[in-house]
Symmetry: D4
Subunit: 251 residues, 8 copies
């Protein structure tokens, strides 16, 4: 896909170093591996500088273990998101190196630790106590990709004092992940207080008019603070990966 | 309908002061007047202590003038909401005592000024400049029912300083009407700062995810500040009438 | 935040009564307490004249007990909403002073009873039998903040007699909380009968076109009775807090 | 389609009265006429006992005139709904017997008056003045099919007196068409007062949470008064046709 | 409420037959009975000629038994809708005269059988096998109010033959209740085939784009067959009550 | 229904070969069979060249077994969709020839194998591993109607290499069924790569803004690749039947 | 992209016929042309066997003319969809060979006529007269790609006779495009009558519950006739292109 | 607000350099200016390093000119978004230094050019020609804040070649703004190709199932490419401001 690779390949064909059929085979042997239930893409980790990630929801323990083992086999680390505690324990029982974080509902096998990155902490801010599981999913993902979370929890806009006293801390962060359900007002306020990236995560906390997170989602998208960006409802993982793309050392 | 009235009527029947048929007639001659296009309810003004109000949207100039004249004929004041400027001018041309407020899109004929009410001002707060027409509808309605608006405009949450410097003013109001479009976050913040009634008005300002005011509406309904109440989208009139119900001297 | 506090602080700095660093520390030692899972805001109770309230949904028994104990430790009362019976019993087993109301799904610890308030009763009206749990949440909250509920249940508009015979009672209330699911028509009718505040609570009762409470919600927002205000679906708590803001003695 | 017709046809084939091919031709010569832009179904009028009806919206004056002329040619009456005034006048200029009703936005050519029907009047009730155009569409349709409308306008639930004084009139109607926008509460109240058919018509009157008539629609569908039926938003025509089906003499 | 009753009462007051206070008391002793959890309205049965109906969903066995007993105590029949089998059996164990119909999820106590009504059968038509429970709710309700159901099941539009062969039967019905989920096309086809009332019931059968019955609901409301009326999703009971209102002998 | 059949019937009546009443009976004895719970349409299989299909969701084991037996009795094969494993096993216990495919949640009884069809394979492509159950429902249905699935799983657009390397395979398919949840982008990309029919199946995989499959559905409907067609959410069966209609040998 | 092209290119590099840099350049000189406002893809026409198509909505006359000229310059035909009459005339004034079809709102320049295709006609069926513009867009597109439309208009399900008499015609079509607004029931009925491909096009005809075409869309997606496929609302073009993919001679 | 400012102020009060009242006044004289219609916040520009921005939609020419003049008066640059051409020209006529960009519908007065920033270009990518206005709003905003746009237009996923040939260019950008309407698939594909920040902008291009941009919005939020972030529909401005926050030199 990358023109430099194509050029090099062509060059090797031209010099006779590689036969036409071999070249075609190389093009077809890009680093995928079909293990029946999935086309594991070992290239992605290299390409984006992150451990392989498995979306655990809707996959069986057998499937997850099979994918983990294939990834670990080639020497990569792996992060699994959205695994409920019983599933997490079942996987740990079969893959001893698997570390499960119950609050975040994530687990990982660290084959090689992520490279250190020369950036400040990422503030992970929640409006309420109920938003903490999503915040922890973000924090665990940040750790897995070599970033450092700074947790600032339960500082929603109905008690503005709590937030204002921590403005300094927010301003020293390399980026701010703001997690809120219900009316989702917190990112607008934070966005007006800091100049760094603000990644808003709506959560499904609330009832009735909270619309399972859509009120917070729309609220954040139409925020009066400019430059606030948004990821999917309850996607702590997505927010962390967005921070990863924004900060030096991601590629 | 009111048991006391029924009792008095029964008593007058019992004493022979009133014949049965007359009593029945009285019951049927409650103060309505059918003017063809509307059943004008002169009783409502008495019942709720407010001038008669006409919802102008979707009514013709002829219809509005006819209803105004019927109301004024019996000595009541009248307020008309939701009239576009051209219609407002056409009415004024035919009813000289009609005063039109273009920003609020309201007009009124004041036959007798509303009674003075011994309450503090009602803060009318907007998040942005674009919310001002709705705020003016609220302010004009407040004036028509004898309440005093205190306008605090363009103090949205993305520039928190502007709001915080006026907290004292908010705390001295008898009630606070908070008007905001887009993400509708302002009532949550105001609700955390004052203990008095907070009436939130979502506006249809914004685009895309603002959903013509529904994002602000849902945001306000699921506000993390407790006891905030909400009226319909763009209903400055509804907010003023809600304040009217809440404050002494409404009945 | 309050200018008077800032002025006093400045004055004490000016007079040397307080060192600069001490003043800063005071500003930072506002009455919050970070207990790990929550930033408990002891100031809020003072600020709004109510017991601390915990939204129980989505919190574990451990978390709720920890927050209750922190609040009680500083001598405040506490109300917990949205706790299912099994959770309620588990908390009561660990906090003996905890009183659980199963119909309302609320519980409380009363350290000091709320101050008496010189206002009339708050009518709590339901359209049907199925709306009673929400009504009880409102009633329990009213009691916790020193207001007196007057329960008027099962008087929906399809049998108008039942409502009309209790109009007197409605007219003597300081405010009326009207709770209805399905088509949510009751607040419009009540709003036309009384001049006092009408706080409408849509409930999720009904099926199909009832849209889990949204039909009642939109119905109430677009009520033809002016000045009716609305809170979130199923939010008996929100309605009681709104009454609290509207009535004398709230601050 | 009707087995009796098939049997008769078969019998005539059996007796040699009709050749096989002729029989097939008869089956294919059912009373349709393709006039290019439409397949005019003259059978429908016979089948359902009503004049032919043209839905005028989105059709040009040319198209409407062509269809009217085809219908009149075979001696049927015709009713056209949803024609704006300018179109109505243009049609009248070309079809002199065309009578246009501007408020209802309907027009008709009466070739033979509808048969008299031995039923009481149909009450056509509106909640507000703005609902009158839809009510007039219902009334005009009722007249076109031989039913008698009894107009009861502007008696919405916020002023209950107006409705209650006309209960007798409602009870004497053969059926009640109830037309309301905004919260659509009127059919629930009427449904509790009368035992006759209640046909609810939601209108698109209102703004914001009125959702262009969907709030009234859902409200009416989930009405707490049993046996209320509903037609499409703004469909005065549909309500009249529903009454037609319900009353003696429709077939 | 009824003017004749008021007139008679007034007359008795005038003749001294009744004291003023007694008259007031009579007005207040209309046939309601408050049994704590419900305001049982014995008048309704009289007023609408039907047994009392209890909406069973969301009520406990205790509550239902208490309401049944109060109704039976005054000599009325009672129908309970929306009771799951386990609840139905529990009620039957405590009220021996209670007859439960599991497919329809309804139960009844027949104190006096409904009066015979001189009308033809009501066709109860379903598009598929899965719509049968809703059809049975309609059928059971029809029986409880003295109407006769004619069941025509599983004749949806994808196999038109099945429907066309039963057109005669449809045409002999006094009214047709058409029950369909998924795309809800059946009422449009039936409405084109018969001239009698067509009451459409959308069901929540289907998945994805079936939208839990809303696609069928909207489909039926915007039916191209004129005069089709619609009730709430899955409301077999509502359809039967609508038929009741439409047919002779309902009051 | 088919004119040729009617003509033949008429001809036999004309020649006296068939009595009128017999002819009518024949018309009424089209190959349906009412087995109480369903009107089994044996004609449909003949008419569309497929085994009978039962939609298993919401039907009891008893009902499904009864319908299977009726179909098998007349010598047809049968396919049952949407049966959960426990139900599938229960049916297999009672109908020994019933073969259950747990991943696809389908089962079948093959009385006579489907005719061989002279067309290429049908590519069944999924974006992710979680879409496989829907793909298997499509594959099982294809097999039941004599078409050959070519499974290409887990080749979503975020890792474009995986898809591009299999373009040849896609281009050799007679039609491509593309199954994707979340943002549903895969059919747009595939539609740009192949000229054969592309049948898009949205799945309910994803959370939050995935809207239970509606985001993928709308995405596919508004695809920028022209000529892509769409079936209902999660309808692997519908996609296979669509392929059946498109390919030679379907009738 | 196509492995055969890559293999040939590699072979030519290997034999020295092509220098490495030349090969790379070839890979980059695929037949696109950037004309500033658009990346015109001349390859697409070749790839899919159709004239270039321009989506006219939202493009200026200048932009459309520029793109047409670029396409015609290389000897391709071009079809433009969604152009209102005034725009169509403006383009024709500047491009004399441009033929505009006002009913379909399409225009085309035919440089070389499409190849003849050995397939039967495509039935283009509408439920009503108002659906004709969408049907004409389909018909014009079919003609532009060498397919033959058979127009069957105004045969909606409320008058079933009209449709049934044309079943033979439907059965002789190679595919059936069914276009319907309002309740969108027609494709379900047609799908039960024919075994060939049924492509359903929902239209935005109707009001209220028709939801601008979404009711018809969802209705068609959840059709009880299996194998019906759906394209976007009002997309006559999409339906024709879908037919193109399904029929022999498309690539 | 900033603790350092508070500390410094306190210090100056302590040293007597500043009187208490003066300090309070300073706190209240933060750089806002109330010009009647707006609270112009000169601090924001300083705080976030950008020119003042006015949201032009819904503001009159008079209002915009007044706000521009106030901003320019204090020596700041200003950018106005969402101004239609006629309004843009009217402003330019009154403010000669005002430069209007019609395609982007933005205008600006540059008092001092933005500081140069040492970052690479920002790729601004569109799926189609119709998305260009939103792309230009982004590009104009980038220029106003000192960033360099690299425009890559009309490279949607249905013609994948066009995109793949420009992958190198995408990989050299500091961030990629991806703008797409309809199914919004482009950001998922781009997100899989580059490791840098991907800011997705849904546009309201398309019809029917495109849902005025919501399908693209939800598609982007649930993208299978991780770390993609999203801004409001049609918000080219929001995307540029997001890039501003992400890149060095923003504060």
């Amino acid at each position: 896909m990358d023109p430099r690779d194509v050029r090099e390949l062509l060059e090797r064909v031209r010099t006779g170093e590689l036969a036409t059929d071999q070249a075609l085979e190389v093009l077809q042997q890009l680093p995928f591996r079909d293990i029946g239930i999935a086309t594991v893409d070992h290239h992605r980790a290299l390409r984006q500088g992150v451990p392989e990630v498995i979306f655990g929801q809707g996959k069986s323990v057998d499937q997850i273990v099979a994918i983990i083992e294939e990834i670990v086999r080639v020497g990569q680390s792996v992060l699994v998101t959205r695994i409920e505690p019983d599933k997490g324990e079942a996987i740990a029982a079969r893959v001893p190196s698997f570390q499960y974080a119950p609050l975040a509902r994530t687990g990982k096998v660290t084959v090689k630790p992520p490279p250190e990155r020369a950036v400040g902490p990422i503030a992970v801010v929640t409006a309420g106590t109920s938003d903490i599981p999503i915040a922890e999913e973000a924090a665990e993902t940040l750790l897995a990709i070599g970033l450092r979370p700074d947790r600032i929890y339960d500082v929603g806009v109905a008690g503005l004092h709590r937030l204002l006293l921590r403005v300094d801390e927010l301003r020293h962060a390399a980026a701010v992940i703001v997690i809120a359900g219900m009316e989702g007002a917190l990112p607008s306020v934070v966005g007006g207080l800091v100049a760094t990236p603000v990644i808003a995560v709506p959560t499904s906390i609330g009832y009735g008019a909270a619309l399972s997170g859509f009120t917070a989602l729309f609220s954040m998208l139409t925020s009066c603070a400019s430059g606030v960006v948004v990821v999917n409802i309850d996607s702590g993982f997505g927010a962390a990966m967005a921070a990863h793309r924004m900060l030096p050392g991601s590629s």
